[in-house]
Symmetry: C2
Subunit: 315 residues, 2 copies
Amino acid sequence: MKFKKALIINISEDKLDPIYWKKLDNLVENKISLPKDSPQIRKELSDADCILTGFKIDVGKKEIDAAPNLKYVSVLATAYGKIDTNHAKKKGIVVSNVPGYATESVAELVFAVILEKIRDISKAKKIGVSGDYSEVGLIATEIKDKVFGVIGLGKIGRRVAEIAKGFGADVRYWSKNRKKDLGKSGIKYQDVDKLISSADIISLHLAETSETKHFLNKKRIDTIKPGSLIISTVPNEITDLVALENRLKTGDITFIMDHADELDPKDAKILSKYKNCIIYPPIGYISDEARIAKQEIFISNMQGFLSGRPQNVAS
Amino acid sequence: MKFKKALIINISEDKLDPIYWKKLDNLVENKISLPKDSPQIRKELSDADCILTGFKIDVGKKEIDAAPNLKYVSVLATAYGKIDTNHAKKKGIVVSNVPGYATESVAELVFAVILEKIRDISKAKKIGVSGDYSEVGLIATEIKDKVFGVIGLGKIGRRVAEIAKGFGADVRYWSKNRKKDLGKSGIKYQDVDKLISSADIISLHLAETSETKHFLNKKRIDTIKPGSLIISTVPNEITDLVALENRLKTGDITFIMDHADELDPKDAKILSKYKNCIIYPPIGYISDEARIAKQEIFISNMQGFLSGRPQNVAS
């Protein structure tokens, strides 16, 4: 069985490798690909039985109601906040997303940016390339024996904690639900406020929800231990950026983030003034392995739906 | 008890932090500090009962015989190849060195330089600083599931293997002596030639001896798997640099080294032409923690000798 007509919104060919683009031909009879603001979307929805879409694209009540034949929406992303899953459910439409494809990619990036900072790697590489083989002026500290706080022990947080254990850090976590399976791992639970005020390194791994907005609030930011390193590979909404700026001014903490593309340009301009705020492009999710896994799951979700075994159903 | 006169050769004050320099006063009555080529050394040796010296400083038969009161030589380094320990032993002189102070510092650096390379970190940081928040053009791969070969499973090699396990790599090692205590660790022994030809990442951890000179010879270099990353935090003598250059020309491997200061300038000039040869300054050993441990052990070695319990005796 195949979909009769898939409306593909904002998945330009560069988001799907040619091999997966080709695989779509086995699953869809007729493909219509449009950018997200195209006025044609409404017309093309009228006979589409499938929508394939990317990150943060609206598929609300209006779009769903404009597609009387719609059976399935497949999101090529983990987040699906812009899909009205309640309304879809009411109309018997299945929505699927792609969870967990970048667990290792994000977890490894956390250590890449920590080690860059604490071993002065960019500077060391640059002076090495210039032919200067002196270590004078380069700073270096170790991860071993540092108090390493993981906030949010989901899939990514757990891997970060495990890798930090490999480095010999004193790993402590806080998570909404205390985990029962960590007995022998040496990864210890700690109250969140105590953890924030005592950790040498803090890695944030909370999902974005109404509860977690400004989780890192002024009170918590002000209690971060001087000299600490905070790594945020989560949405910027988790952090009160105004309070962060005030703390950055003191120069006694370093904040590293990789969701620069989602920063308000005004915030980006303010934060990028501080040398102790290191802003990376969004490179947490981009490993080759993650890109392949993401597309494999996306195609597999479609195959599952077509064969009557929907998977990764988002609701 | 104190030493009556310590001749301090080539330990300029910047190698000993002021706090340790001060601790020497509790151990030595009279300190004479000279650079390594000073013509005064011979004269000052005549009544010295102690020599304190650094990395690669000659204390041969000539120097030992010029110091009839000499009881003790303390080396502020791991390597002591320039000390004639046989002749010292014959004359009842104890020599001590500082082993293992930088185990974690070197092991962590291995991952810092791997992650810099496979996550394009210097480039990502640079474009982030410039305010470009696009990930386009940045490369990224993961350590997880890669075949990670550790050559030489001494203290540092073992920590590298353990950290790589934390990352979820398929860790294999070769060492002169097969280890019996790795059963549950998942770190597997493999024949060296098979390991070199099958690993995605190779980290070298052999000590420099007459046996290990050009251990990575032309035959082995030519069998390295295309696409592999080789990390050398060991002396350059371990690698046949001519054969390495020939392989680098093909562009299909990447070689990362941190012993640039010990490279022959001619070799440095040749190797630095290749983008796939990343030459760092000697930053493996320089963490704050390693610097402190090194000086603590150095002072403790002296205290041990003075109280009749010599430790870290080099022979």
